[in-house]
Symmetry: C2
Subunit: 326 residues, 2 copies
């Protein structure tokens, strides 16, 4: 995924980095330092690139949505900073999470500061009506994200919550914002309602493909590739899509084993627990099923692009989202 | 203060409460429940009332800024929810804080959800140019608030940080948002630049008066009046204005005693520590000095209103801010 995003967005990345610095500051205070540490080195810039490519797909320019795109990245990273507090996750992108490095209180405030810097960027320029429309859609997505994060805390440790619940959490936590990033980019570039709705659909389906793949990474990639510990889902007791698919497909004996590994794993030996889990996910066909679901979402994303004037790059992004190895 | 705000804002309060429910929801999810618990029973509604009265002072109506005012209240309460996590404060408005009641992770997400509900309300209605202008000013104030909260974590336990530093933290944490509430109300009601700047000045000075008085409450009011424990400043090792004024005025012997009480207080006996501190703040004249500073800010707030068509209620609010007992 990263390679594809980088190749698609390569010309945009230096501009995005400069724009982020413009909104977050140069590190003159502890708040700015913590925000910069969370932002840099950056991730894949998936959301801002989606925003810029969506503007271009309807005849606009990346430049006219640059500040908005940077704002979306700030808001996304703010959610990661807070998410790592919620999950007590010490690692993010292969480095110490903000909470781990600066302390919990400081990370909380840094997340708030990044959020507000992001919103300032969203509201900063362009025709007032379009900016307001795009900002409202983005804020609505962030409200869904909060619902998703809260719901996730409720299903922690619950292997019986069901696949639809986990898909809803993905929609709220990930797909809402990728959808808004695309729709907002289109609105800012003056797209028709049909076009911006199509791009929202595209962004939501791409987000689902991306997140389903993300849940698969602990079972398909090495630690050093993802920058996350493969065992962190077990440590968090977070029921992910592949685990729930396995649970659904398993017979009673395997369900009991799955529950034992899932609940007791971290107390005994996380590496062994992870290996046992991987064997069960493979045996029940859960990994294959999840990969098929990601492909299906990517196909729907692709289909939503029909009728747009120039969507070559968006097609590439959808394809790589269902195929990511990191 | 509460009595005066209530009498000034009495007709607005039911409208504000209904508007808050409209933005936060009716409690269908854990997120909504936690947000509602933080919002209700409400505080003094100082900021939304300032917003509405400022609109009226320049010839507008409270009604046209109602959603914006409710948004500002959501954002203020969100900051309290997060602040209580940062300060590890189990009590807010005489009840368990959100973190104490729902858990740290849940309170963090509730604060984020309240923030986003608040921003959705800010952006919800009125002429686009005015809404954007008012929202930008409010977001800028919230960025200052984050700077202030972070700065506060840095000076924890530091009696030598100086009075100007603590005044800067107050400006960032409190006065920026009260100033923005007034200025935004005026902008939404179509005020001239001179008028909205005057109302910003008014709101900032009122915010300073209010906050200086807030810092004095542990030494002038009973626990049950403020809903906060009088000893929480000591427990937090937070150097407040009266403590720093005493430290500045004290001789070397008293400084050592102050440092001992301040640092060791909570380990030994918080009630005794608080009594010793109160005696020192009185002896050094710090309480009198702080009260004078609050009055001076209130006078400056009052002076900023010269030239506005109808500011009777704003005058009352400024007077009561410097005189609050709870």
């Amino acid at each position: 995924m990263s390679i594809a995003v980088t190749s698609v967005g390569s010309t945009h990345i230096p501009l995005l980095e400069a724009e982020l610095l413009r909104w977050v500051g140069s590190g003159d205070s502890l708040l700015e330092l913590a925000c910069l540490d969370a932002l840099f080195p950056p991730g894949k810039f998936l959301r801002p690139i989606l925003c810029m490519e969506s503007a271009k797909a309807v005849g606009g320019t990346a430049d006219e949505v640059l500040a908005f795109a940077a704002g979306i990245e700030c808001l996304h990273v703010a959610s990661l900073v807070h998410d790592d507090i919620v999950d007590q996750d010490p690692v993010r992108r292969g480095r110490a999470s903000t909470a781990e490095q600066f302390g919990l209180a400081e990370a909380l405030v840094a997340g708030d500061g990044l959020s507000m810097a992001g919103i300032a960027a969203l509201l900063s320029g362009g025709p007032a009506e379009r900016v307001l429309h795009a900002a409202r859609i983005t804020i609505e997505a962030l409200r869904h994200m909060c619902q998703g994060i809260m719901r996730e805390t409720e299903i922690r440790g619950d292997l019986t919550c069901g696949v639809p619940t986990v898909l809803n959490v993905m929609r709220a936590k990930t797909a809402a914002l990728t959808g808004a990033a695309c729709q907002a980019g289109a609105i800012l570039a003056g797209a028709s309602p049909e076009q911006n709705q199509a791009l929202r659909q595209y962004g939501e389906q791409l987000g689902m493909a991306f997140q389903i793949r993300d849940d698969l990474l602990p079972y398909t990639a090495e630690d050093q590739t993802t920058g996350k510990t493969a065992t962190s889902d077990i440590a968090n007791l977070q029921p992910t899509l592949p685990v729930l698919l396995a649970y659904e497909a398993a017979d009673e004996t395997d369900r009991d084993r799955l529950a034992t590994v899932f609940h007791g794993g971290i107390e005994t030996d996380p590496v062994t627990a992870h290996r046992d889990l991987l064997a069960m996910l493979t045996r029940t066909g859960a990994l294959t099923k999840a990969a098929q679901m990601a492909s299906s979402c990517a196909e729907q994303a692709h289909a939503a692009l029909a009728g747009l004037p120039d969507s070559t790059r968006l097609v590439e992004l959808a394809t790589s989202a269902a195929d990511r190895q990191r």
